[in-house]
Structure formats: C-alpha cells, structure tokens
C-alpha cells in the first residue's frame, strides 16, 4: 500500500452534533488530495483530528501504514504531519523566523540562534520558492506572505504531509497562482498534500483526487482526471431530499434599495467590496450567492451602518444611508437578520421578551419617558412567539436556552414585525433543521408577497435557488452576474461562484 495517511471510519462528535460520521480518507504519497464539502460539513474537524487537536470517538489513523494515536500536535509534528490553519496561527509581534522556530529553536549557549534559524528558513524558502524576509514582523507583511510563513513552519519541522485548510479563501488571485505553484513544487519534492477548498477550479487545476463529504458523512473519493466541475458540484451540494419551496412568480415593483459604486474595506483594510452596483425592488427576493469571504458580509454591514462605506452610495427609497448610524438605518426601514445570530442577533442572556424589543425598546409602547413597560414588552413577545411559532417555555426564558432554530425564529419575528421596507436575511437558515428552514423560507416569501424587498444572503445553493427570484453572484467584492432563479441551476451558479464565468459575466453587463 502506498498510502501515507489512512483515516478509517472516523467519528467525531460535538455536543449535539456529529461533525464526522464514519469518514474515510486515504492520501497517496506525492498527491494533492482535495477535501470538498459545504460549510459545516466537517472538513476542518476531520483535519483537526488528523493533526491531534481533537480526539476521535471512533476510527483509526494509519500513517505510512502504521497505526498511530495522535493525541497532540507534537505527535503529528513528529509523524511529519503539518497543518496550515484556515485562521493563521501566527504571533503578530514576532518575526517570521521566530514564528517558524518557536517551540523548536536552535540554540547557542542557551540563546536562540536567530541567525542560524534565519539561514535555515532562507534555505527552505529558496528550495520551495517561498520567498519571505526572515526578519520581517508578521504584522507588517501581507496575508499571502503570512501564509508562506505558515507553510514554512510545517516544512521547518520536516513535515512531508501537509494539510491546507481553505488556504485560498484569504488570498488574492495572484497569490493563489503563486500558492498553486508552491504546492506543485512541494509534491515534486515528494510531499503529500491535503487541500480543503470550496473552489472547484482550484481542485481541477492542482488536485489528483478529491474526497467529498456532506453533513459529516463521506460521499466518496474520485479521481480529478475522471470528473469535472459539474460533477463535483453535484456531489457537494446534492441532497437526498430536495424541498421545493412553493411560491408564485414575483411581481417586482419600484426599486427600494439602490447601491452604486460601493467600496468597503474589511477589518484588515483591504477592499472587500469593490465598486459594487445593485438594485433591489419591492416584491422580490434577491439572492446573494457566493463563496464565503467574497465580501458578502462586508456588503451587508455597510448597508446596515455597522461598517463604514469607503465610497459610493446606498439609497433606500431615495434616502441616502451612507454615513448614517445603525439606529438611523434601522429607523429608515431596514430589517436585518444578521449572519451571526450569537454575535449580533441576540443578547443571549436576555430573555426572549427583552430580545424581541432589541431594536424598539426605546419606543412606545415598550417604554415611556425612559421607563420600560415590561407588560407591553412581554405581551408583544407572547404574540410574536405565537405568530412565528417560536418554541420556548415562555417569553421570560433566556435566549440562550433556546435551540438555534428557535433563536433564529425569534430574530426573524423581531425584524419582520417592524414591517421594514427592506429586509436583509443573511444566512438565515445556517445550522437549522429542515422544519425550521422551511418555516423561515415561507416567512421570507410571504414578506415578499406583502411588497417588501428582500435580500437573501446564503452560502447554500439550494436555499438561494429555491427562495430567490433573482440571484446576484458575488465574487471578489463584485457582482459578477445576476441571473433569474428559474433560468439557472446549481451547476451554473457553482461555476459563477468560483469565478468560473467572470469574463462572460463582464460581457453581459
């Protein structure tokens, strides 16, 4: 057997969820092996098991044929396994060399021999074409450069099995090209690579084989040479049950939200939204599709006033929103079901009742002369709990005690009940069970039918396809194409999302 890694029937549970259920992955020496799956499918978990950060409940791992117990990243290191984490594990204030050698430093008279270390780093970086400045501080170098440091960390420790967790998600196209080159050099040097990515094009261009997992279960492994992007996309998003949401054709009316030339920077100061234009009309649901990290979140934050827009304009019913504080934006008529319900959507330790008035607590009848009127608040909460079928013992229960789906329903109740002209639903069904998903979809459609404009941002293709009327695909901070939901399919969308038809989209505009 020429497998360097065999993960057999791995099972990993987290409280309330089986992240990996009987997954098998086999890595051949000298290959680049893709690991593909939707968000939350269990890819990172599987790799963390391999790297010793998590212990599996069941299953065995063999490295170069030998059965091993990887209980610690140290053991993984010793076995020659290195991991480039999706979220970089770098100390900002340290230099490149310090980050690379830390925990394994060459010394001279008890002192870290930085010169020697830097020389080694340089030697390795030359050998694999990973040029870095060994003395530069991490906080001063680009993301692409930081990633090289991550790779160098593993190589410095003599890893010959490398795991890359979504390495391209944070890179510019040029950087991606460089990374692809690096990976090719690495395998040429005899290393083996597992690559996690959502971008099919990348898989097609560098990978030898691809293992697909879905909802914690292994779907299968295919040779890349014997498949194509369409087939991979189908494997990834395919569902046993395919709920078709019932809805009548949309009757779009006047434009509610008009975005023009919008540019927004992300937290690192890089343009995440680039001169974006988009119109959304009353009575339609516009789906915003795209791979995670293509600027969708920043776009929505800019609309809602949570993030400063750099350039451009956002008009709601002809009223300029750019420059307004979040409260003013809300009052202007925007409802926002936020992407991260725990971070933004709820104060988990507040009761459901208190969360229901998070946007309106300062208004009558919930308060008068700054004194809260709890009877009114809880009465409202009770009504909404009923209307929106939020399953909770009572309106006094803390939000924390509710299941994710019911938390989400409470947020939707709050946002929709204010009858905003424009409703943003960002990943409204993430992590929810089928029943909850269905009710939320129905709610969105009924809002549309009431003549509201709805923006649905989702990473899940069938959600986008089933619920939206038009679909805008976002790629690298721009809308690459807008298609009618009933005239497209998963395959086409998957390609668009991977930037596959960027050129064509550009022509269409």
């Amino acid at each position: 057997m020429s497998y360097v890694i065999e993960m057999n029937s791995i099972r990993k549970e987290f409280p309330g969820i089986v992240a990996n259920d009987n997954i098998t992955l086999q890595l051949k020496k000298g290959e680049i092996h893709a690991l593909l799956g939707e968000n939350g499918a269990g890819k990172s978990t599987l790799m963390n098991v391999l790297f010793g950060l998590y212990q599996p409940e069941r299953g065995e791992i063999r490295v170069r044929g030998e059965k091993v117990e990887i209980t610690d990243p140290n053991i993984a290191n010793r076995l020659g396994i290195g991991m480039v984490h999706q979220h970089f594990m770098l100390v900002d204030k340290f230099t490149v060399t310090e980050n690379i050698v830390m925990g394994n430093e060459p010394t001279k008279f008890g002192v870290v021999n930085i010169k020697k270390a830097a020389k080694e780093v340089e030697a390795i970086s030359k050998r694999y074409g990973l040029s870095v400045d060994p003395y530069a501080k991490i906080e001063n170098i680009s993301v692409g450069m930081q990633q090289r440091v991550e790779i160098l960390k593993t190589l410095y420790r003599g890893a010959d099995i490398l795991i890359f967790d979504e390495p391209t998600a944070v890179l510019t196209p040029q950087e991606i090209q460089e990374l692809i080159g690096i990976m090719k050099t690495l395998v040429a040097e005899g290393k083996s690579i597992i690559l996690i990515t959502h971008k099919l094009k990348e898989i097609m261009s560098v990978c030898d084989r691809c293992t697909v997992i879905r909802r914690g279960k292994g779907i299968g492994t295919v040779d890349v040479s014997e498949t194509d992007q369409d087939k991979l996309a189908a494997m990834m998003v395919g569902r046993e049950v395919n709920f078709k949401v019932e809805k009548t054709p949309a009757i779009p009316k006047e434009t509610v939200l008009a975005v023009s030339d919008l540019t927004v920077k992300d937290s690192r100061g890089v343009d995440a939204v680039k001169a974006l234009n988009l119109d959304i009309k009353a009575g339609e649901i516009l789906g915003l599709a795209g791979v995670d990290g293509n600027g969708q979140s920043e776009f929505i934050e800019a609309i809602t006033g949570l993030r400063k827009a750099d350039k451009g304009s956002i008009k709601l019913n002809n009223k300029e929103l750019v420059g307004l504080k979040p409260r003013k934006v809300t009052e202007a008529g925007i409802g926002h079901i936020p992407e991260d319900r725990h971070k933004h959507g709820l104060v988990l330790d507040f009761s459901i009742g208190e969360n229901i008035v998070l946007q309106t607590y300062y208004q009558q009848p919930y308060s008068k002369n700054t004194v809260l009127n709890y009877p009114n608040i809880f009465k409202k909460a009770k009504d909404l709990i009923e209307d929106y079928d939020v399953r909770t013992p009572s309106e006094h229960t803390p939000a924390r005690a509710l299941s994710g789906g019911n938390q989400q329903k409470a947020i939707i109740a709050r946002e929709v009940d204010r009858s905003p002209d424009f409703l943003i639903a960002a990943q409204p069904t993430r992590g929810l069970d089928v029943g909850a998903i269905e009710s939320i979809h129905k709610r969105l459609i009924s809002e549309r039918d009431k003549g509201r404009a709805v923006l649905l941002m989702s990473l899940e293709l069938d959600e986008i396809l089933n619920v939206s009327d038009r679909i805008a695909v976002m790629y690298e901070g721009q809308i690459v194409d807008i298609v009618d939901a009933d005239k497209t399919n998963e395959k086409e969308l998957g390609l668009l999302m991977a930037g596959g038809k960027k050129e064509k989209a550009g022509e269409a505009k």
Binding site: N48, Y54, V91, D92, F94
Partner: protein
C-alpha cells in the same frame, strides 16, 4: 544645596526606592507575558516581606548572624513567594477564574494570613526588629570615580545593583532565549503556541510562579533594607506601583526598570524636594501623585501607547478560538 549635592541625595535614594519595584515588576512581567494578569503582586510582596523577616528572626534566634542569614532569608522568600503564587496560578489557569478577581483574592489572603501567622507565632501584631539587615556600602574603586562615583556607587545598597542587573538578565531571557520566546508566544497567541507543541498551561504556571519568586524577592528586599520588621502595613501599595511600572514600561524589563527608577525619583524628589530651593515651592502633593498621573497619561497614549500581551486575561481552553 548645590546641584551636585541634590543629585547625590536624590539619585541614590531613587535607585534605592526603585529596587523592590524593579524586582516585583520583573515578576509581573513573567506572569503577564505568559498571559496571566497579576494584580496579586502586592500580596506576593507581602508574602516575601513576611518570609524574609520571619526567617531572619528565626535564624537569629538560632544564633546565626551575618551574610548567611540574609542570603537564606532571600532564598526562602523567593521559594515561598513562588509557592504562594500557585494560589493564583491554580485559580486562574486551571480553574479558569477571572484573573483579576483571583489576584484580588490573593491580596486579601496574603495580608490576612501573614498577620494572622505573626500573631500566632509571636503573639503580637508585628514582629521584632531584625539585627541582620542589608546595609549600604561603597562599591570599591567605582565609588572613587569623580562625579559618577558619588552618584551611583557610594554608600549604595547591593540589592539595588542586583535589581538593575536582574532587569538586564530578564530582558535577555525574555527576548533572547527559547524560554522567553515560548513565554511570549503563550501570552500573545496561545493557540499558535499550542500547535507548535508548546505546553501553554505549563508555561503559564511557570510565568506565574516566577512572578511569585520575583515579587517575593522584592518584598524581602523591601523588608530587609527599609523596615526591618514585618506588620500589616509593611507593604502598602508597592505591589500596585510595581504593576504600574510594568505597564508604564510597556511590559519590557528595561522599560519597567526605567519606570521604577522614575517612580523612585519622583518619590525621592517629593521628600528631598522640600529642601531644594526650586521644588520646595511645589506643593509636595504634586510630587506625590506625579507617578500615578504620568502612568495614566502614558496609558492614554500620550507617551506612546502601551499595548499588553494580546491574550492576556483569558484562560486558554483548548480548541476554542
């Protein structure tokens, strides 16, 4: 008084007053660089002062005297300081207690426990005076250098030099040795350190225990040079000042050294200043509060922003981010 006389009064006094602060701030540095806030420095100093005095008295009772007594007292204070700091370490690292609250508890405990023990051992609220103390001396040769000699090397406490030397040593350890690199990595990004095979909690335990050792030494030096006995009021606020010196010095050993010297200078000036023509017009209270006001200004970024270790104050829980 001429300027030379003023300097020869103020500078040795400043260095002298700074020594316990320097030592304790260095201790705080180990702990905070490892990511554990240490408000308990005060309590650790109390422990050190207590131990030094008790040890000295006990050894004197056994008929010992001389250098040996002092060295033993210092060593035992260091040991007890680091053992006592385990209280903070266990609470904030293993039990994931709020590090600030745990430090506050440590301070309460130190004062309560030491005074309680003094009562138990001696049946009174404060100890007797020790007779083997650390005394001043002239540094041979160096004290004869004109100008520099009288300012820095005549009739000085050896502990002051030890403190300054240790600041340099700690600087070297923290920034140039593998241990230092790992210590800092744990305080900056414990998850990264973990993936590099560094045992985060072990490093943090070491950091906290070193803080106990150094603060214990700081308290001991204070007791053996300044007070000569121990009571509940021997250490009042020096630990907090050391913490301030640490932050003012931007978590850098040499910075902390400078800050502590600055505090010492401010204190010396506030006392000697009453005899200096120009300063005697300044109400002493302004000199008294100067260190605290300046620290706040420094923190607010007017003297350059002080940014602590990134992961400070957060317990490390494997796998969470």
């Amino acid at each position: 008084m001429d300027i030379m006389q003023i300097l020869s009064l103020v500078i040795p006094a400043a260095i002298f007053a700074a020594a316990p602060l320097i030592l304790t701030a260095l201790g705080g540095l180990f702990s905070e660089r490892a990511g554990v806030v240490n408000i308990g420095l005060e309590g650790l100093m109390v422990m050190g002062a207590f131990t030094a005095i008790i040890t000295t008295l006990t050894l004197e009772g056994m008929g010992m005297s001389g250098m040996m007594v002092i060295i033993l007292a210092l060593i035992i204070s260091i040991l007890i300081g680091s053992v006592f700091s385990l209280f903070h370490a266990v609470a904030s690292i293993t039990f994931r207690a709020d590090q600030i609250v745990s430090g506050v508890a440590l301070n309460f405990l130190a004062v309560g426990l030491t005074v309680f023990l003094v009562r138990l051992l001696y049946n009174k609220g404060q100890t007797d005076y020790i007779s083997n103390r650390i005394y001043r001396m002239d540094v041979p040769v160096l004290s004869d250098i004109p100008f520099i000699g009288p300012l820095f090397f005549s009739s000085a406490y050896v502990t002051s030099y030890v403190a300054i030397l240790l600041a340099v040593v700690v600087y070297f350890i923290v920034f140039y040795t593998p241990f230092g690199l790992r210590l800092r990595s744990v305080g900056e990004h414990p998850m990264a350190a973990d993936t590099m095979g560094i045992n985060v909690n072990r490093m943090r335990y070491i950091g906290v225990m070193l803080s106990g050792a150094f603060a214990g030494l700081g308290g001991a030096v204070f007791a053996l040079t300044v007070t000569g006995n121990f009571s509940g009021t021997t250490i009042v606020g020096q630990g907090f000042m050391a913490l301030a010196a640490l932050i003012f010095g931007k978590w850098n050993p040499l910075g902390a050294l400078g800050a502590a010297l600055f505090f010492g200078l401010a204190q010396a000036l506030s006392i000697t200043g009453q005899q200096i023509p120009l300063l005697s017009d300044v109400p002493p209270v302004f000199l008294l509060i100067a260190p605290y006001v300046l620290t706040i200004l420094a923190l607010a970024g007017f003297v350059g922003r002080a940014e602590g270790p990134k992961a400070i104050g957060k317990p490390y829980i494997k796998g969470s981010r």
